[in-house]
């Protein structure tokens, strides 16, 4: 199975060691069976298993991964340039940049509200966004050139 993964819902509340979630399949599929005894309600068990493991091996998962992959870039835009290959041209780039900008601004707004700061701090906030843009621009164009050659 190359396409299986598990969903954000499961990741969001990671089950703890020894909890029901992590041993569910053992309780249901392992343990001693005695042939002359009756095993109850397999239908209910199947449903529960499906509920407990929200597994998505689907287009939805793929789109989420692709989206996460794009978010990687956005995080980079705010500082790290360790892997310059990750930065490339196209429409997505400018959209992404705008998103970073607005995300940074809304974070800034929240912080400002929290600390009760004024306009001065907001100008300071904006500055760091301008500088990296200029610095990265040449790197990007040379990068996309190289990509075209590769492709």
């Amino acid at each position: 199975m190359t396409a299986t993964t598990y969903s954000d819902e499961v990741v969001a509340c990671p089950p703890r060691a020894g909890t029901l979630y992590d041993v569910l399949e053992l309780i249901l599929d392992r343990g001693m069976v005695i042939d002359v005894f009756i095993r109850v309600s397999l239908v209910g068990i199947e449903i529960l298993k499906i509920d407990a493991r929200i597994v998505v091996a689907s287009v939805d998962t793929y789109l989420r991964f692709a989206e996460a992959c794009n978010r990687l870039d956005l995080e980079r835009d705010s500082g790290s340039t360790t892997v310059p290959e990750l930065l490339s041209g196209g429409v997505a780039k400018s959209v992404g940049k705008r998103k970073v900008r607005s995300a940074a601004e809304s974070v800034g707004d929240t912080v400002r509200k929290a600390v009760g700061g004024g306009d001065d701090s907001s100008e300071e906030e904006d500055e760091p966004h301008e500088r990296p843009k200029k610095r990265r621009a040449p790197a990007r164009s040379s990068e996309s050139r190289r990509r075209r050659v590769e492709a």
């Binding site: 029901l20 493991r53 998962t61 793929y62 492709a151």
Partner: protein
């Protein structure tokens, strides 16, 4: 109170001398009252089966919690969830018929517990993956050049597959490491989303060290896989006939 015609729910087979936990309760609502019925050197922990028993969370937990507590008292053959006998007589007949086999398995499991290890693709390893995987890089560049549904799906599928492959490879190395310090190892049922589901039979005295080892393996493979240990557990995976010929270090 549930009527006798719903049958007898069987939790475990154990040595006759094993004490029931004082405030332990069984499945059902209200929780069924437990009793121990013995036959020679063996006993079975049972209760009346609740009417319309299904695999509810409440009942699964009751089953699991009781077995955990019984396992603290001595060796236990945990029953699979939901085993119901017609009546106490048929449970006792079963104990008599299988006495030597059950006793031997109890001896084998005495002082040992099960630890289950699941390995999943590391979810926070996207950055490392993109940095290392050329094909993902290419698809990613393609999705950037001409963004769209198709490109995103192709990229996401490649990422998903690569994460799984990396985790599976890490899982095999983790398995080899852990199997070398366990008494026995058997693969668990396939769990969607997991690249490895393996149960290990471990000496109770070693269980903490084993879990620490799993933890440190988890740390060293964290860019490839996430390790989820569960245990110490009753030996669910080491009671069946096929588990008697255990595989150590198998795939």
């Amino acid at each position: 109170m549930s009527a006798a015609h719903d049958g007898v729910y069987v939790y475990a087979v154990l040595r006759a001398a094993t004490a029931l936990p004082k405030d332990g309760t069984g499945v059902g609502s209200p929780p069924a009252v437990l009793r121990s019925i013995s036959q020679g050197p063996l006993a079975a922990v049972v209760s009346d089966a609740p009417p319309q028993l299904r695999a509810r969370r409440r009942d699964l937990l009751a089953h699991q919690n009781l077995l955990m507590r019984l396992a603290d008292e001595g060796p236990v053959l945990p029953m699979r969830f939901g085993m119901v006998a017609a009546d106490e007589q048929s449970v006792l007949a079963q104990l008599a018929a299988e006495e030597s086999a059950y006793a031997a398995t109890l001896d084998r499991l005495a002082g040992r517990i099960e630890i289950n290890i699941k390995v999943l693709p590391a979810q926070n390893a996207l950055e490392a993956l993109v940095a290392e995987d050329k094909s993902v890089q290419k698809l990613r560049a393609a999705a950037r050049r001409s963004p769209g549904y198709e490109a995103s799906v192709r990229l996401g599928e490649a990422i998903s597959g690569a994460l799984t492959r990396r985790a599976a490879a890490a899982g095999q190395r983790i398995l080899r490491e852990l199997a070398s310090t366990a008494r026995a190892a058997v693969p668990g049922p396939e769990v969607p989303g997991c690249v490895l589901n393996q149960s290990f039979l471990v000496d109770r005295a070693e269980s903490e060290a084993f879990l620490l080892q799993a933890q440190s393996l988890g740390a060293s493979f964290r860019e490839h896989a996430e390790i989820r240990p569960a245990g110490p557990l009753p030996c669910y995976s080491f009671v069946s006939a096929e588990a008697r010929s255990v595989l150590v270090g198998g795939k």
